[in-house]
Each structure stands twice: as C-alpha cells, then as structure tokens.
C-alpha cells in the first residue's frame, strides 16, 4: 500500500511565485485570527497547511480568495491582486459548508465550476457540460452524474467538489480539508489526483489535519497558528521542533522514511 500512494519523484519547481501574502492580518470582531502573515508559495508545490483548531487555516485560504476582508496586508496571485486573477484559481470549500439537500444533481454541481469563466448572465452550454462530464470521469463519478447530491456518500460528495474544482482548469487549487470524512479509498483517489495536478505544473494548497500523512502526500508545508511558524519543503522543516512550536505541546512524530 505504501508503494501505491508514495510518490518518490522529486518535484521540480520553476522558481516563480504562485501566491504571495504580505503582512496579512484578519480579525473577527477585533480579535485577530491571523496575525501579520508573510507567505510565499512557489509554483508547482503540493502544500499542506497544518495547525491546531482555530489556527486560522481556513481563514487564510478565505482571505487569499477574497471571501473574507483582511484588516491589513495584501495578497497577490502571480504578481497581481486576486480580483484580476480569479480565473487562475479554483477553490474547494469544506464539504460541510453547503446544504447537500439542495435540489440539484452531481453534474449540475460540477457545472458550477464553469460559471467563473462564463461571467454574469451567460448560461452554460454544451462545451461546459462536456468539461463537467470529463471532470466527473476523472474523479470516477461519471456513473453518478444524475444522482441527487444528498444521495451521495460523504466521499462521493467530496469527489464531486474536487471535480468542480478540476473543471475550472485553474493554475492554483485551494482545498479546505478535502479528506475530512472520506474513506481510505477516496483519500487515495483524491491524493492521486492532486499529485497529477502537481505533475501538470499546478500549485495545490490543502488545509490538512492528519499529520501522519504529511510527508507521504505533500512536498511543501506551512505551519500556522495565528502567526506563521514556518514554511518550506517538507523534508527540511517537517520536524518535531516546528510541530512543537505550532501545537504548543511536546510533539513527536516519527518522520523517518
């Protein structure tokens, strides 16, 4: 099983910065959840954001995507503000953030990924439908295209969300806990797709909870706990020292491979 999911090839980085965050501070009711974050994410990494609950992991993603307004700081995507680069970015929110009883089908949810490139008013046509079907096929969900979304299991719903991001054909993918509540098979299927994206030169940023799998799945990692603790290649900085700094307790994981 290790051989299957382990990806030993060393990724090559172009040296271009995909995402740059400067002095970002975000607060809810004047209580800072993110404090003066500086972060540079190189193009082509498969990066985990780790940190304890309430560390501001989702908040960081949402602020980069302009869903939350920071009280200070700025974000650039390939050197320009997010507003100008929307089409380069795809986002997979937490599965629990939507109402799965909504009257719609799997295919329709995936089609929503094409709305960004369509813009206001224009309707999706055959071209968009074809792209959505291809994305469904990629995540192994083509057989479920007409299924009402509440009739899907948690893992299948997550795959639908992933397909919706794939259909955006973006350069940078942000994913908020894509492995939450999915079974082992789906987890492997998802990570394989993420690795394929990296192979295609895309940048993938994932809020991740399971520290054990970080070295196995990712090549880049950011430790976050309100402030940025560390960021860089997994092999250099994923160690007990940074884990202890981030999680506050004396943290030990065995990361020898």
């Amino acid at each position: 099983m290790k051989e299957q999911s382990q990806n030993k090839e060393t990724p090559t980085y172009s040296g271009v910065l995909a995402v740059k965050v400067d002095d970002l501070t975000v607060a809810y009711n004047y209580k800072p959840v993110l404090w003066d974050i500086d972060l540079e994410i190189p193009e082509g990494v498969l990066m985990a954001i780790v940190g304890p609950n309430g560390a501001g992991k989702s908040t960081l993603i949402k602020s980069i995507l302009g869903i939350l307004k920071p009280i200070a700081g700025s974000v650039s995507i390939y050197g320009k503000p997010y507003d100008k680069q929307r089409k380069l970015v795809a986002y997979v929110p937490q599965k629990g953030s939507v109402d799965w009883d909504f009257p719609t089908t799997a295919l329709d949810v995936v089609m929503m990924g094409t709305y960004g490139s369509l813009g206001w008013i224009k309707r999706p046509k055959q071209k968009e439908k074809k792209a959505a079907l291809e994305a469904l096929e990629k995540v192994g969900m083509l057989a479920f295209k007409s299924r009402q979304i509440s009739q899907l299991s948690g893992g299948q719903q997550q795959r639908i969300f992933l397909a919706r991001a794939l259909v955006q054909n973006a350069s940078i993918y942000f994913m908020d806990e894509p492995f939450q509540g999915v079974d082992a098979t789906t987890e492997i299927a998802i990570i394989n797709i993420l690795k394929e994206l990296r192979k295609a030169g895309k940048t993938v940023i994932v809020v991740h909870h399971d520290l054990q799998t970080v070295p196995e799945y990712f090549d880049w990692v950011t430790f976050l706990n309100v402030k940025k603790i560390a960021t860089g290649p997994v092999k250099d900085i994923f160690n007990d020292d940074n884990l202890t700094k981030t999680y506050g307790i004396n943290y030990k994981v065995s990361i020898q491979e």
């Binding site: 507003d83 109402d99 909504f102 719609t104 709305y115 008013i121 509440s150």
Partner: protein, 386 residues
C-alpha cells in the same frame, strides 16, 4: 363567470406566481421568516407613501415601501452581526417595531386615511376590480392587475437573467464569492424583489397571505422534486392552483378570498406532506419499516452463513438464539423464502446458492462501501438506496 370574477382570479394567480419565484429561493436559503418580517415592516413605508401620494397604487408608494423592506433586512443583519442576539431573535425584534410604527401612523391619521389595519393584514381582493386604470379615458383593467403584472414581468426577467447566479450563491456562497459573483449583491437583489413583490401583492392579498404564498408553494414543491427548475415550476403551479381553487372555495362559502387561498395552500401542503412519493411522511415510514426488515434479513442470512453446524441452524435454535419476537422472525423467514434465499430441510435452515451470493455481496458492500457491487441490488432493497 363575470368579468370581475375573471379579473380577481387573474390577479390572484399573478400574485401567486410573483410570490412563488422569490419564495423558492427564500425557502432554499432557509430565510422563510425574513419574508414574514418584510411583509409586516413595509407597513410604515406604505402609510408614509400614502400620505405623500394619496394613492395606494402609486409606484412611488411601492418603491418607498419596498425600501422599508430592505431596511428591515439590513437592520436584522446588523443586529445579528453584533453577535449579541441570534437571527430569529433579531427578526422578532425588528419587524414588530416597524409594524407598530405603521399601526400608530394609521391610528393617528384615521380620519384622513382610507386605510385600516384589517385591510392591511388580510387584503381586499374582492374590491380589486373596482379600482381601475384609465389610459386616455379608456378603461384598461384593474390597477392591481397592472401593478402585479409589471412586477411579475420584472421578476421573471431577473430570474431568467440571473438564474445561474441565484442557484450558485444559494447553494455555495463561498464558491460564488471566489468566482466573483458577489453574494451580497445577489442577496440584496433577491431581498429587493421579495420586498417589491410583497408590496405589490399586499394590496390584493394582505400581509399574512403574502407570506403564505411565498413559503407554502415552495415548501410543497421541495417535497416533490430534486431539481431546482422543477421546484420553481411546481411552486408556481401550486400557487396558481391555490389561488383559483381558493377563490371558488371563498365564493362557495361566501368567505374571505385571502383566507380561503391560504387554507388551500395549507391543504395542498398537508396532502403532499403525507403522500409525497419519496419525502412524504408515509413513504418515509414505509421505507424505515422496510429497512428494519431488511437489516433483520441480512443479520439472519449472515448467521446462516457463519454457522455450518446444523445445531446452530435448527429452526428452534434460531428463534432463541437471534432473540427475535415470533412475528418478526416469521416476517424475515417469509421474506427470505420468497426471495429463494433459504431452504428448509427437516427443520434445518440452509442458504441457497442465491442467498449465499447475496449475503457475500451485501457484506462486501457494507465493509468496502463500494457502490458498484450493489447497483443491481438497489431495485429490490431499500437498504442500499441512498
């Protein structure tokens, strides 16, 4: 039918359609109560508008009242955002305050204002045909018909133009925001449509029925379909059906039209609530019972599969061992027999080949959760559906 009757039914139907469209999205956004708030808090807007224009059907009055509706939404959100009270409490605080301002304004000026609280709450559909619109001296029909007609056309136009945006932001606000479709713009757009519709409909059907027409048809349609477009269509259909049947119900009873339409809305919801094919109460209860039986069947088959020794598979033993009541044990045995899954041989129960394959497949599914294995079993067993 005389022309007044036709006109009343036409007005009621147009109001129903105009309400069902924003209503569907309000229900899906879990904002049903906000329509209640809007319908009450537009009262001061109407009264002040009436003081200024002296005409209940003036477009200025409609805009002014709709503006009060938007203020309600903004106030509710503002109070809620402080985090000191929850949304339902905020709604409960805002709309009675605004409504009471309206009530006081009416009472203070009762002598000069042709407007009373009863008419505001219940509307006067029966009188709608008397207030007519004249263009260059020609009678072109009741004013209410023109007002609600124009609101409806605008609503349909907006729906067609922004259906995709409405659907996206209702389902997934976060994605809508990240794709550049500002959820705030769509939210306030929908609230404006709901407010204008409420004001336009309110003269005809009153503040209470407006809420019923927005919420009940959408809630009924929600139980019948898993497709947003069909849900819109059904909501419109139920609205019109209630409007027309309600009119004739009122005609027959010689009672309030608004009250009768609301009664029909409630009645149709009740019927669907009970008998809807998959989400109705009866269907749900039937399915739960069926699932219980099927779980029992599977437990039983698994027991047979796990025990090769005859002692464990003797009829008498089974009853005490699995510890089921006789009735239930019999139901399960009958079901297994009917499906050719077991055979009896001198009071010893054995799995047939079919039963054996079925059990293996079912167990396999339960362990691996792989859907492909059970696709062909779904037809026969509720257990594996959804």
């Amino acid at each position: 039918m005389n022309s007044a009757q036709i006109e009343i039914q036409l007005i009621a139907s147009l109001v129903a359609i105009a309400c069902a469209i924003p209503g569907t999205f309000l229900v899906l956004r879990k904002m049903a109560m906000i329509s209640d708030a809007i319908s009450h808090s537009i009262l001061p807007g109407i009264v002040i508008g009436f003081f200024i224009t002296q005409d209940l059907n003036s477009p200025l009055l409609i805009l002014l009242a709709a503006f009060t509706g938007i203020i309600t939404v903004v106030l509710v959100e503002y109070i809620q955002k402080t985090g000191l009270v929850k949304e339902d409490t905020a709604i409960g605080l805002v709309f009675p305050a605004l409504f009471s301002i309206g009530v006081i304004l009416i009472a203070k000026n009762a002598n000069d204002v042709h407007l009373d609280v009863d008419a505001v709450l219940l509307g006067e559909l029966a009188f709608a045909p008397f207030d007519r619109l004249f263009i260059g001296g020609t009678d072109v029909g009741p004013k209410s018909l023109w007002i609600i007609g124009s609101i409806l056309i605008t609503t349909i136009g907006l729906l067609l133009a922004f259906f995709k945006e409405l659907k996206l932001s209702t389902f997934d606000k976060g994605l809508a925001a990240s794709l550049g479709f500002s959820p705030a713009i769509i939210h306030y757009g929908l609230m404006s449509v709901a407010s204008v519709t409420t004001v336009g409909a309110f003269d005809a059907v009153g503040a209470i029925l407006v809420v019923a027409l927005m919420i009940a048809p959408a809630a009924t349609a929600y139980l019948l379909t898993t497709d947003l477009k069909k849900m819109l269509g059904l909501a419109i259909g139920f609205g019109v059906l209630s409007a027309i049947s309600g009119y004739w119900f009122a005609h027959w009873l010689d009672a309030s039209i608004a009250g009768s339409i609301t009664t029909m809305l409630g009645f149709i919801f009740l019927i669907v609530f009970l008998f809807a094919p998959s989400k109705g109460i009866i269907a749900v209860m039937y399915r739960e019972k069926q699932q219980r039986t099927e779980v029992s069947l599977l437990t039983f088959l698994l027991h047979l599969k796990n025990h090769t020794e005859e002692r464990e598979r003797h009829v008498n033993h089974l009853q005490e061992h699995i510890n089921w009541q006789k009735v239930r044990a019999k139901t399960v045995l009958d079901l297994a027999l009917k499906n050719n899954m077991i055979v009896f041989n001198k009071n010893i129960v054995s799995l047939t080949e079919k039963g054996d394959t079925f059990t293996s497949k079912a167990i396999d599914y339960i362990i691996t959760n792989e859907d492909a294995q059970i696709e062909d079993m779904k037809e026969d067993f509720f257990l594996f559906r959804g």
